[in-house]
Symmetry: C2
Subunit: 322 residues, 2 copies
């Protein structure tokens, strides 16, 4: 197992959704000394994070610049890198396809180049996505890591390209890279571009009398939800014990219809919620079923610990506090 | 079968290596009326092509611009599109990784967006690459289209990303896309960034007394070579008869060691050639064996017709004429 205090740790995108949970987890569990923990950020450092790390460990960096990325790695000399910075919205990835694809690929490429140039021995956790699997045949479920790639949106393509760049650099330059393919994850601080927070935000608006009905997309879709707090535990575990060159699904292994999830959320509301399907929320093509086979990461000792209901409860409370 | 004169044809990169052979093939075989054949170009139109098409059918366009790409497709309204424009050098793709990856992906994305916006019914031939397969296990040879993706250089990643973007757009927006994965192809006009033309150019220099020895890279590598003239025949056949959404390997199905190829080339020289392995020509990681399973394209009636020896003879004559 890697000693996580044997060198410094860099989280790109540490002020984002998963990133902020990861920072809290690493610090709360005393897995990493705060002096050794660095993060990049894009616009602002949120208040709840600002006091958790020394001020100089927050780096405002344009990761689309190879010069800036090189300089950052030369300065920090990280031994462990969690690369979470990305254009993350699947739903927006057709409308903003250039941003999603070119941004994600450009960041990954710069980071790989900078690792090769500056910190050749560093371990990189490369974040792919279950979106790269795309459409599954019934006999391909639950989805194993060797499932074919049939992405149906630019986001899924961008994450596949990130992974494959990591694969090529690892093979050609002996970099230490562990890849993960997270399935849907939820929790506080996720933006309302995503389905669950959008539902929660609307329910709060209904509770406050600002909105009459809950507008939803395709309720037949089956998805595999993991609490973001369980997700970032897996990230840390993989940096500590993952096999170099290997790729790991991270998901609960349980499929839920979006209808079930909406019903659970509604059951947590203080008022009665009327649900309405909004055609504008339907995607050009929605993948019918996504369920993870998580055997590989389970063998390292990971398992989900937080129930869907309690995740949803927290998400709802987060939006009530906004 | 698609009637190739039922609308106009656009070739992106028609003044490049494969592109120029494709234009000549389509015109020489009278498969497309020259009035209906358009091409983009990057810097100049070579003399041997300039007289083959009406001057206004050569379009100097920056395909990295979505505006320019949209305007071009709105103007031409192509029914058939061969997208050959790309950063093509595998050997340079680590050194110039940003160019290779971002350029190829950006062009593909723009073209897909422009097709969706302007000519939704057009058929696109999307050029992937056997480089996306990367490393094969012995039981995975010859390489079928469902071989896993293990690219070892940025070029192979860029071509995979292009394909997957095509897949995602086709699935989500019902575009008519046929994908191909060409294996190595050779012929006159290929630049000396590639192995065979580099060898031929050197042999000519040796014949002229300008260079003492033939410097080569890894001679143990096994590759599958197809004449570019056979390759472009397959491209035309697939536009005419390929199955929408399908992907096709194009290669001879025959593996040759680079040593055999070098020996054949040397046997065609007028002088005795001394061969020397140049460490600087070795790649960080060279794929040991690449051989195509070409059954799928053979079922459409394609087969290679030109022997390796006569391809090499033409390549050598091309460099003698420079």
């Amino acid at each position: 197992m890697n000693d996580l205090n044997s060198g410094s740790t860099l989280i790109t995108g540490g002020t984002g959704f998963a990133g902020s949970h990861l920072i809290e987890y690493l610090l709360n569990q005393q897995l990493v000394n705060p002096e050794l923990l660095h993060t990049t950020y894009y616009s602002d450092v949120p208040d709840y994070l600002a006091h958790r790390l020394p001020a100089q460990n927050f780096h405002k960096i344009d990761l689309t610049s190879i010069q800036a990325t090189n300089q950052l790695l030369a300065l920090i000399q990280p031994k462990f890198i969690y690369h979470l910075a990305a254009f993350a919205s699947v739903g927006n990835s057709f409308e903003k396809s250039r941003q999603a694809v070119l941004n994600n690929i450009s960041l990954q490429l710069n980071l790989l180049e900078a690792i090769q140039n500056q910190v050749h021995q560093a371990r990189l956790l490369l974040i792919g996505s279950a979106e790269s699997y795309g459409i599954s045949q019934p006999d391909e479920l639950p989805i194993k890591e060797d499932h074919p790639f049939r992405p149906v949106n630019p986001y899924g393509v961008s994450k596949l390209a990130q992974e494959m760049l990591g694969y090529a650099y690892a093979q050609s330059w002996q970099l230490d890279i562990v890849r993960v393919r997270p399935f849907n994850h939820i929790g506080e601080r996720q933006t309302a571009d995503f389905a669950i927070p959008s539902f929660a935000k609307q329910i709060v608006a209904i509770e406050r009398g600002h909105q009459p009905t809950l507008k939803v997309g395709n309720l037949d879709a089956i998805r595999d939800f993991t609490d973001v707090k369980d997700m970032v535990k897996a990230y840390q575990l993989l940096v500590a014990t993952g096999i170099s060159g290997e790729v790991y699904n991270i998901g609960s292994g349980q499929g839920k219809t979006m209808k079930e999830v909406v019903e659970l959320l509604c059951s947590l509301s203080t008022v009665s919620i009327q649900v309405e399907v909004d055609q504008s929320k339907l995607r050009p093509l929605d993948i019918p079923v996504v369920i993870a086979n998580n055997e590989r990461v389970r063998q390292l000792g990971w398992q989900p610990t937080i129930s869907l209901l309690s995740s949803l409860q927290r998400v709802l409370e987060y939006w009530r506090a906004q």
